[in-house]
Amino acid sequence: MSRATRIRIALTIVAVLLVEALCRFGAIDILTMPPPSIIALDLIRLLASGKMNDAMLKTLWNVVAAFGAAIIAGVVLGVAIHSQRALRRSLEPLFATYYAIPVFAFYPLLIVLFGLGDAPQILIGFMLAVVAVIMNTLAGLDRVSRVLLKTARIHRLGPIETALRVTLPCATPYLLTGVRLAVAYAFIGVIGAEFIMSNTGVGYEISFAYNNFDNATMYPLILLIILISVMLNAALSYWEHALMQKRGYR
């Protein structure tokens, strides 16, 4: 473990202890936020009781659906757009401004279009995630060196075979950045949509608990989501980093 990692862990522990102390000594009102130790215990109790299993499963499925669709559509569209220079140039302003547009503002429209089922939530997650995948696919394809493409041509590989054997493997580190962002965005999209308006899912449970002043449910669920997204992000970053180093980048 590197020194930076050890300090990071120490800092996190100190921060948690600090919050714990602030709560215990009344600097933070118990009605505002319970001490972290109690939140953690509540989370264990909540998970053991199985009350949240349905909501968690549902959110997970929606995230997986949004993520999967975004990866497939993103890579396919990325490859397609990369091959069409004119199309790429006219789409570039859209990509550059895409994340400035509040995608959640479209959620009401999606509810009107598709009803209050899973579809609008998956679509919001998909809409947030897909452009990150497209952009990183494009960036990855840009880095594929000419020599490799020429070699592929000499070996008379077809376009699909070139993509599968040369271009995509070459672009993998960048694709992985896209994957990591897509996971984060799919989570943000689905949980945000559930939070805004829905009748199931972890996001809904949080907003329901909030409206009922049920801190014993709300804080553990928030902690759960933070833990899951931080761990997923850390795992994917680690993988990405390892791959980059193996390829000699950085």
Binding site: A4, T12, S90, A100, L109, V112, L113, G192, I206, M218
Partner: protein, 248 residues
């Protein structure tokens, strides 16, 4: 078509999006969507009423405060972590993890801490905007070529001179990209804040319109937001490109 004017691509894109909208309207029908022309007209009507403007002003104020907080705090954090390499190494994964959390789940905590109203909106906007600004600034400062800093030391420049003549000019293009990203995220954050914890503003209008299934209102407000975000973004992007171009 290879060397089309820069404006032509933009126009083609806008034309394409408007056509897609009209087609979607033809498929989905009047109960789900409002057509482009009617939406523009309704937005025009709304912009003629004082009440709508007061909501725009409420959002604008909150957004401005949040943006100032995001940019200033983000810049300071980024500079500090960028200049002190080791603390940057410690902090970077933490910043990136925070970036990937669905921050909307933190909203109840923000509300409990600040109460309903302006401070909560501003805080929520800033939560979204600070981290990207900090990450971009940190990367920018770190990637300043060591040769430049060494030269400065050889020439015995003062701290202030180093900042003025080396750090700012060489980090500016990346920092500007940070401003662009931070602008977008702060806007989303502020609007989300208004959707749950506010009695005024465009986010609040959206939320009430959802409750009333007022499709015209939803579309008009969404259109206004998209127009605003896209205009500012395109302008910032143009400046961004010029800075990056000058730098290389």
């Amino acid at each position: 078509m290879r060397r089309a004017l820069p404006g032509v691509n933009g126009l083609m894109l806008i034309g394409g999006l408007l056509t897609a909208w009209q087609i979607l309207f033809e498929i989905a029908g009047e109960n789900a969507l409002a057509p482009p022309i009617a939406t523009f007209r309704y937005l025009g009507q709304l912009l003629g009423t004082a009440d709508f403007w007061s909501n725009v002003a409420a959002t604008g104020m909150a957004f401005l405060f949040a943006l100032m907080l995001s940019l200033m705090l983000g810049l300071l954090i980024g500079l500090a972590f960028g200049l002190h390499r080791f603390s940057g190494e410690v902090a970077e994964p933490m910043l990136v993890s925070f970036y990937s959390i669905p921050k909307i789940t933190l909203y109840p905590i923000v509300l409990l801490a600040f109460g309903i109203g302006m401070p909560a909106k501003v805080a929520f906007g800033a939560i979204h905007g600070i981290v990207p600004m900090a990450i971009f600034t940190m990367t920018a400062v770190r990637s300043i070529r060591p040769v430049l800093l060494k030269t400065a030391r050889v020439m015995r420049l003062t701290q202030w001179d180093v900042a003025r003549s080396i750090i700012i000019p060489s980090a500016l293009p990346e920092i500007f990209t940070g401003i662009r990203v931070s602008f977008a995220l702060t806007l989303i954050g502020t609007l989300l804040g208004e959707m749950f914890g506010s009695q005024r503003g465009l986010g609040y209008l959206l939320m009430t319109a959802i409750g009333l299934q007022n499709v015209r209102m939803i579309m008009a407000v969404t259109l206004l937001l998209v127009l605003f975000a896209a205009t500012v973004s395109v302008t910032l992007l143009a400046v961004d490109r010029r800075l990056h171009h000058d730098a290389t």
